[in-house]
Amino acid sequence: MKKPIVYPIIPNSVPSVKADMLREVGAGSPEDFYADIPEELRLKRPMHLPEPLLSEYALRRHVREILARNTTCEDYLNFLGAGCYQHYVPAVCDEVNSRSEFLTAYAGEPYEDHGRFQALFEYTSMMAELLEMDVVSVTMYDGFQAAATALRMAARMTGRQQALIAGTIGRDNLSKICDYCKSDIEIRLVPHDPKTGLMDLGSLRSALSERTAAVCFENPSYLGFLESQAGEIASLAHGQGAECIVSVDPLSLGIVAPPSAYGADIVCGDIQPFGMHMQFGGGHAGFIATRDEQRYVMEYPTRLFGLAPTRVPGEFGFGDVAYERTSFAVREQGKEWVGTAAALWGITAGVYMALMGPQGFVEIGEGILQRSHYAAQRLGAIPGVRAPLLQSPYFKELVVNFDGTRKTVAEINRGLLGRRIFGGKDLSREFPEMGQSALFCVTEVHTKADLDRLAEALQEVLR
């Protein structure tokens, strides 16, 4: 007979303990506990799974061997962005989100889990300062979810069923929005000027009506440019009684005005840039922000943590604000749903904002702007390359067009890969009207030498 295994992560797998406990509950074997499961539903064979790696050493070795087949953005120079960004992650961010107390907690009360409530309250409070809005949700799954929920909030508030979205939105984001809003909201894209990327205000005017629940755009947009008509778009939306929704890269907010300053009603976005490693897309978390008006607050689906006095004078406690609006309280009568999302990333983003402080955000914003413009200078000087393609101000991403080189982005990126560079995201399928274009992302992690290396490599590839 096989020697029974005592599993380090299963204390009661010790055979004698197991036998004692079975005896104590009057069971002959674990089979007794499954009496309610009909015979025909029982799996009568062992599961066919890979042989286990019982020692931690063997497990670690096995997983490392598989992961070794990945190449990282530390090995190669990376210019991919398009929603997931390589910013520097301060060591304190990793230190705090590795703490057992935060990492392994879940859904405790605001007393024994006071720390989690305060850390998330502080996260929303610091976001509120960046956004200059008084209400910010705790984390949602990602920026896509935040945008989709913002649209549903606007539809509920206005009682209308149509949303107008800037046509330059990323197609994955649009796909999420269309699925999420399918049963209630008609999604219409507003055309843009192909030269600048900016929304075509004439088209917006003719599309807007008393049926429009929201006008939604990104700033900076998915294609990197800044929507300089933001204030006019908000005014046009308001003129028809629609909500103005703006999706923002919060990392730009040290130098770029928060959307509330130009009339946005609901602001949303993703906090991955705030201290989350890229993790193959695993570092995302979304936020929604609004003014502190009851009609907005009551439409949030997420939990909202509020500060409140306790029995002890001067002490701050926390709790759920307007809990009755949630699906936890009233199931399908609640606003969409609430559940596990990405709290640890919210705590981490709080750490990031506290480390950066006001000066850090100003400096990182300006530094990125300088680097992205330098990249444009260098790439734009290469024969046949247009950088940026769109004649508008931009922040950290820019569309680079290669039509004049007679090479496809796929070919160019293969050439760059051979030179240990991840080139920009190929946009040729997503936005075919831009020809052979790629979205390049430049951040504070890039040195002048990195950008020079990119330019030189591109020149070689295009030769």
Binding site: N70, L103, V136, Q145, L226, V297, L355, G357, N413
Partner: protein, 529 residues
């Protein structure tokens, strides 16, 4: 005379109730720690020649889009940021620190540290999701391997790890149900979802977002989902049954195959919420019960940390017939290379950015590989043994009961009731929970509505020892005893937590009082506190 600590500390193998005292640093809200001019981190400087070459870049931003004033964030040195968050962490009771059996339905189990270490390696943390497939073969292989494992565990054919948690997976399932009926030209006709009140609130709320009407079934007298009720609910409008099993009561629905058969006969689909699967791994499978869709919560059953509420993964599985509707992309293997398949015209599209939370997928894979088939079954059986052991201990406490399924075994959790104790003493389940915190443990009542009066939901997974369970039962027994001898002690709890009870609920319900951010607090309440 001070008390003998052996009355509190585990002594001679006997569990007691600890003299727990949580850290109380009187830590201010972070804005109050600001000292103008301090810096927490410096950002990489731009080279001078680069700066000179681009000139005034701020001037490229139109005046109307330029931020006029730096954001009012705290200004703190690095040590103060770190110290603040470490102090907050000490006011947070992670699963690593306590006998976390009181968070029923959440499957709190040990999260092996090696898995966290692996997920922090640059080979995953510094990988961009849009890299060339050649450069991400390792992580794609992990996805593919875990998918194969879940196929065997569930008996279903194709999985996605894109949904960001159980609820988003339930939503994805509802969206797939919608796409399936639309593909048969029945989108308008099939507009009802049937669920049960002891399935998670999201089994009702998520399909509602996908446009369905929701019919909720209540249990029969024994606490089992009511077969007659489901018969009455099924019609040509039925799009799907979306149901947890075991339910949040820890009761397995023995007629589940009949439910599935009836819904299928009426043309509907069946989605199995497997959030409570921890006790049935290797015992019974969604596919064998006839289900078309299911979801597992990797952050619950598959041993990945809960992260204070995510990030997480709701692994969503479907039959071959529904695979074409899964969100894009799915991971495929051609025998040589792994690749991401976007060419799926009937897909519901995107549910979440990129491919879900890759580090959670990795940790879940490592967790399964540390156990194998025998180990998974051992985990399930011990979780159920632990639950039935704790059930016996709790029922020995006067005032506690376990409604429904009298005399029967439960699977991995039990929804108890303190109704008798409340009637006797006026102490509620919520009061008990806050007093349990004084002994260094969590406690959760239950999801609303409270069908079981004064509920308490305990789920002792395989991670806890007999002594752990004895200690948790001892805490409950002591609090129940206090409810009789010193009810004020319980009603004013917690006493040993970082902070005390909030009593003024206007701060949570009245718009003039609530303060969801610090700036709102200052605006409404000034600095008077």
């Amino acid at each position: 005379m001070s008390e003998d600590i052996r009355q509190a500390r585990q002594t001679n193998g006997k569990a007691n109730t600890r003299r727990f005292c949580q850290a109380r640093w009187d830590e201010p809200v972070i804005f109050e720690l600001s000292t103008p001019g301090e810096r927490g981190i410096l950002v990489p400087e731009v080279e001078q020649d680069l700066a000179a070459s681009v000139g005034d870049v701020l001037g490229t931003i139109p005046e109307t889009l330029r931020r006029q004033e730096a954001p009012h964030l705290p200004e703190m040195s690095q040590v103060h940021v770190l110290r603040h968050y470490l102090r907050l962490s000490q006011g947070n009771l992670g699963a690593d620190l306590n006998i976390d059996v009181g968070q029923g339905t959440c499957t709190m189990k040990h999260n092996p540290k090696v898995n966290d270490q692996l997920a922090r390696l640059p080979e995953i943390s510094e990988v961009h999701p849009l890299q060339d497939e050649e450069t991400v073969q390792g992580i794609l292989e992990i996805y593919y391997r875990l998918e194969r494992i879940l196929q065997e565990i569930s008996g279903l054919d194709k999985f996605t790890f894109q949904p960001g948690a159980g609820s988003q997976a339930i939503y994805a399932n509802a969206s797939i149900v919608r796409a399936y009926h639309a593909s048969r030209g029945q989108a308008d006709r099939r507009d009802e979802i049937i669920t049960t009140i002891f399935s998670h609130p999201s089994d009702a709320a998520c399909p509602r977002v996908a446009g369905f009407k929701v019919i909720t079934l209540y249990p029969d007298e024994d606490g089992y989902p009511d077969l007659e009720a489901v018969k009455a609910a099924i019609s040509e409008r039925t799009a799907a049954l979306m149901i947890a099993n075991p339910e949040d009561t820890g009761i397995f629905n023995p007629r589940i195959a009949d439910f599935v058969r009836l819904v299928h006969e009426a043309g509907g689909l069946c989605a199995y919420d497997q959030a409570n699967a921890n006790g049935i791994l290797g015992i019974t499978r969604a596919g064998d019960a006839g289900f078309d869709l299911c979801q597992f919560n990797l952050h619950k059953t598959f041993g990945t940390p809960h992260g204070s509420g995510g990030p997480a993964v709701g692994a969503t599985g479907v039959t071959e017939a529904l695979a074409r509707f899964l969100p894009v992309p799915v991971v495929e293997f051609d025998g040589r290379k792994y690749h991401l398949d976007y060419d799926r015209p009937e897909s519901i599209g995107k549910i979440r950015q990129f491919y879900g939370v890759a580090p959670v997928v990795l940790k879940a894979y490592a967790w399964v590989m540390s156990l194998g088939a025998d180990g998974l079954r051992e985990a399930a059986e011990i979780a159920v043994l632990n639950n039935n052991y704790l059930l016996k201990k709790v029922l020995e406490i006067p005032g506690a009961s376990a409604p429904y399924a009298q005399g029967k075994r439960r699977i991995e959790q039990v929804r108890y009731s303190w109704q008798d104790l409340t009637e006797e003493t006026g102490v509620t389940s919520e009061d008990i929970g806050l007093r349990v915190a004084d002994f260094g443990a969590h406690y959760w009542t239950s999801h609303h509505p409270f069908i079981v009066p004064e509920p308490m939901t305990l789920e002792p997974t395989e991670s806890y020892s007999k002594a752990d369970l004895d200690e948790y039962a001892a805490i409950l027994a002591r609090v129940a005893e206090e409810a009789r001898s010193d009810p004020d002690m319980v009603k004013t709890a917690p006493h040993n937590s970082t902070v005390h009870r909030v009593t003024d609920h206007r701060y949570f319900e009245d718009p003039a009082f609530w303060a969801i951010t610090w700036r709102a607090y200052l605006r409404k309440h000034g600095r008077k506190a």
